[in-house]
């Protein structure tokens, strides 16, 4: 037992840190949305106004809202359908090459959406799109245009599969095989078993995954910015960004749109958590549970074909496009043969990117900020999760709510809020890498705290009590017993934080300065300037970097999934 003043000090410190990391960005944005000036900017005296909200009711905003809805709803349907099929195949059937299926389900999580969007725009847009060149060479009278609502929907649908996959894989693995067997024995054919028993049993997870996916798509920035921006298609998030960055800027209106988006997201997140609460159909006792896989018979190879097709479209095509883009010289490509003609290939672009000091700087920045966010973030997440789960400090509930705030904060709002927070606080933090680390740490807090909480919950607190009874102090008991038992979860959370921070674009785009560019920002900027071979080269390096991190981390992350 700690003494009262010490207890209060610990809690005050934690609440203070969370307030700066996650609460302040939200408050700053709220304030700006009701004001005529940016908070604490030192300019004109701020005046209270509803003007920013009333100014929102324009056809532009209606169109942006409609676009957001369309790409999110359709994207969710595609992503959840693919994710559910992959999860079912991996969890319940005897599909061949199962580890590969599992990898395919998870892999898109580690693909940068900036790279994915950029690559798809080169693959499937205009006469010079690689796929369009191939289609023409094959005399197929069909041309793709991914710089469209359909294209944004497609990219959303392809790359948000892992969310649904992870949740449904978990839920489906937990369905007791006897529940399905009972249906077969009592007269139900295979399709009936699936429709009446298996999928209804995981309905909570299905709904939860759909809402989560929808929310992520609704606040998604890089995809609509890269694919919609050039053709004037706006979603709510690109609208916020455009209002922020155009000249003259409308930061207060941007804040108002941000709050609107935050409100929508909050409602959905709340709904999702409510749906999942208490609707847990798990019936596993651990006793007598043996993995009973459904024999697919002759459909096995068809099923594997589906998985490979998805992998080819989501991963294979873009990587091919990057390789060609990085190696090929000259923009003009006559036909499909010329596309793959080695005569045009050279390592010049790749060489000049590798030796470019700006790129080198960006690689260092990316790794530095990612690693720092992983180490600092995970330490903080562990302390928060531990305090919430295992202590009786006052204010634990508030801490828990605060840690979950970023769930409802779109990345753009987070970026704007962090920007204004550190412009206001008179410390030399804005303009350094530290501000990026702070933004990542705050943004990834819910995911980290949840993962670690879940693993703390699995360790009976008597284990720690036994250590204390045996004479260890509380910190020592944590260090010797609890932490070693949780090593897998902590390391996996750190790796996930590292990878997600490394592929972040949205808030970085609002926070970077000349010397603090990270790779995603460099790619985004170069794409805006139309430097394709540069973009492809650097994207290739970025993708390889993410891939290496993922493969290193996979050993630990498997436990988290």
């Amino acid at each position: 037992m700690m003494l009262r003043p010490a207890r209060l000090a610990v809690m005050a410190l934690l609440l203070g840190v969370c307030a700066v990391l996650v609460l302040s960005p939200l408050l700053m944005t709220v304030m700006a949305s009701f004001s005529t000036t940016v908070p604490f900017s030192g300019g004109d005296a701020p005046r209270f106004t509803f003007g920013n909200y009333t100014a929102l009711f324009t056809p532009d905003l209606a169109a942006a809202t409609w676009n957001t809805l369309v790409v999110s709803v359709l994207g969710t349907i595609i992503a959840v359908t693919i994710g559910a099929i992959l999860a079912w195949l991996a969890a319940r059937t005897d599909i061949p090459c199962k580890p590969l299926v599992h990898l395919v389900g998870l892999m898109p999580l580690f693909v940068s959406l900036v790279v994915a969007s950029v690559t798809w725009s080169v693959l499937g847009s205009g006469r010079s799109g690689y796929l369009n060149i191939i289609l023409r060479s094959l005399d197929i009278p069909l041309q793709l245009e991914v710089r469209s609502l359909a294209g944004i929907t497609l990219v959303h649908g392809l790359y948000y599969v892992p969310y649904a996959y992870i949740m449904l894989f978990g839920a489906l693995s937990l369905v007791h095989p006897e529940l399905e067997q009972a249906a077969s024995v009592h007269g139900a054919r295979m399709s009936k078993v699936l429709l009446r028993i298996t999928f209804p049993l995981v309905r909570p997870a299905l709904l939860g995954a759909s809402l989560l996916t929808f929310v992520a798509m609704a606040e998604e920035f890089p995809v609509p910015a890269i694919l919609g921006g050039p053709v004037g298609i706006e979603t709510l998030s690109t609208r916020i960004f455009n209002l922020m960055t155009r000249v003259p800027g409308e930061p207060n209106q941007a804040a108002a749109v941000g709050i609107l988006l935050t409100a929508i997201v909050s409602v959905l997140v709340w709904l999702q958590r409510r749906l999942l609460k208490g609707r847990d159909f798990r019936t596993v006792t651990g006793k007598g549970m043996r993995p009973q896989l459904l024999p697919l018979g002759s459909f096995r190879w068809l099923a594997l074909g589906f998985v490979l097709l998805y992998a080819f479209i989501a991963l294979g095509l873009p990587i091919m496009a990057l390789v060609i883009g990085a190696l090929r010289q000259g923009m003009f490509i006559r036909d499909a043969a010329a596309l793959f003609d080695p005569a045009f290939f050279s390592l010049n672009a790749l060489r000049s990117v590798v030796t470019d000091p700006h790129v080198q700087q960006a690689v260092v920045n990316t790794l530095l900020t990612g690693t720092a966010a992983a180490v600092i973030g995970t330490t903080l997440y562990f302390i928060i999760a531990y305090v919430i789960a295992r202590t009786d400090l006052p204010g634990r509930q508030i801490l828990e709510y605060m840690a979950m705030v970023p769930l409802a904060l779109p990345a753009l709002v987070m970026g704007i809020g962090v920007l204004w927070t550190w412009l206001a606080i008179p410390l030399p933090i804005y303009g350094t890498l530290l501000v990026l680390i702070i933004a990542y740490t705050g943004r990834l807090m819910p995911q980290g705290v949840r993962a670690i909480s879940a693993s703390i919950a699995q360790i009976h607190d008597d284990l720690e009590h036994a250590a204390q009874v045996s004479g260890a102090t509380r910190p020592r008991a944590i260090r010797r017993i609890t932490l070693p038992l949780m090593r897998g979860a902590v390391v996996s959370s750190a790796f996930l934080t590292l990878i997600l921070a490394t592929r972040e674009l949205t808030s970085s785009l609002l926070l970077y300065t000349t010397n603090t560019r990270v790779l995603s920002v460099v790619i985004y900027e170069a794409y805006e300037q139309g430097l394709w071979s540069f973009v492809a080269s650097i994207s290739l390096i970025y993708t390889v970097l993410l891939l290496v991190l993922t493969l290193i981390g996979r050993r630990w992350m498997r436990t988290a999934f």
Binding site: E178, Q181, A182, V185, H186, G187, A188, T283, K287
Partner: protein, 359 residues
């Protein structure tokens, strides 16, 4: 309603689970497959249900062949019309009690009026009529068990399969449900196969017991036959013979045997003996022995009580003999005054000692 199985074989990878099992079960009878875990009893049952694909053999239900490897006959699970009560009950948590029980009838496309009567009738029979509209995830273990039974019975199956249905329940509930199950089985004349590793359950429920080990049927007979004369010491161990002493050498005598144990002690008994020269063990049930305080000049099975465990209706004693053997004795005389440390004589009728082959 009858089942015939011939030459059933099933291996998982290289491990043989069922190594040639024959079953002929007539109408209205309850067959119990008894054996330790991994003996192949569950696999045998799952092959009959159609949940496993046997490697060889013929299975017919009601005279209809549902599986014949040689003739390429494989009737899929959902068309075999067998009922099954699973170890986990497998009650679907997203459906109500009524919906759970109605499921098999829906699959048979029974008209809804008829369906409703039949479901309610069945719920009545298992005492759950008031629970029809309850969510099934809120039921207790015993109630789930009865829902599972109702769900299997309502489809009027050709045969009802039970996969250790009582093993997840606590001891008192298990005792009660065992009696109810036997009552219901007799009343409805269910033809059933019941899998368990619990000898009490087997003895109480079976018309016929098959003891299985390593994928083979080692002995079959009525419960009384098995209890009275197990074929081997391994089966005896499974049926509650807790005193088993391997014989170093033994010989048949007129109407009995004498056997010398490793400790040098010589035991004699009556009854049949194994084939001459076979490895054998002396097997004694603890309830066939009695204890009394020893006087200084007593000889024979004299030893010291090392454990007295009072069970209510009886007391279990453990007696150590000077040569090192430990004997278990059950005494119904709870007021005998025997305590740990007492020097006692173990008394046995000659018929209590059985000499059984070890294999």
């Amino acid at each position: 309603m009858s089942i015939n199985v011939t030459g059933l074989r099933k291996a998982f990878g290289g491990a043989t689970a069922v190594a040639g099992v024959d079953i002929a079960l007539p109408n209205g009878q309850m067959l119990v497959l008894l054996g330790p875990s991994g003996c192949g009893k569950t696999t045998t049952m799952r092959c009959i249900a159609g949940l496993e694909m046997p490697d060889a053999g013929i299975i017919s239900i009601d005279g209809v062949t549902v599986f014949d490897r040689a003739a390429s006959v494989v009737v899929p699970v959902h068309k075999r019309n067998v009922g099954m009560v699973f170890q986990s009950y497998a009650i679907w948590p997203h459906l109500t009690v009524f919906q759970n029980v109605a499921f098999p009838l829906e699959m048979q496309k029974i008209p809804s009026a008829d369906l409703k009567t039949r479901v309610m009738e069945m719920l009545e029979k298992v005492g759950l009529a008031d629970f029809a509209s309850r969510s099934s995830s809120a039921l207790s273990g015993g109630q789930m068990q009865r829902v599972a039974l109702a769900r299997s019975l309502v489809m009027r199956p050709s045969v009802l399969l039970f996969d250790e249905p009582l093993s997840n329940l606590d001891a008192r509930l298990r005792d009660r449900l065992r009696v109810q199950l036997r009552e219901l089985q007799a009343e409805l004349k269910i033809t059933g196969i019941y899998v368990t590793h619990d000898q009490q359950e087997a003895l109480a429920l079976a018309d016929r017991i098959m003891v299985m080990d390593h994928g083979l049927v080692r002995q079959s007979g009525t419960p009384v036959e098995l209890y009275a004369s197990p074929a081997t010491s391994a089966i005896a161990a499974f049926l509650g013979y807790s005193n088993i002493f391997p014989a170093e050498e033994w010989s048949a005598t007129d109407g009995g045997f004498t056997a010398r144990l490793a400790s040098g002690r010589v035991l004699a008994g009556s009854g049949e003996t194994p084939a001459a020269g076979a490895a054998a063990a002396v097997c004694v049930r603890p309830e066939d022995l009695a204890l009394r305080l020893a006087s200084p000049d007593d000889t024979g099975l004299v030893g010291e009580i090392t454990l007295a465990s009072f069970m209510g209706a009886f007391t279990l004693y453990r007696v150590r003999l000077p040569e090192g053997e430990i004997w278990e004795v059950i005494s119904h005389d709870v007021l005998s005054g025997l305590v740990v440390g007492s020097r006692v004589v173990i008394e046995a009728r000659p018929a209590a000692m059985k000499l059984l082959a070890t294999q």
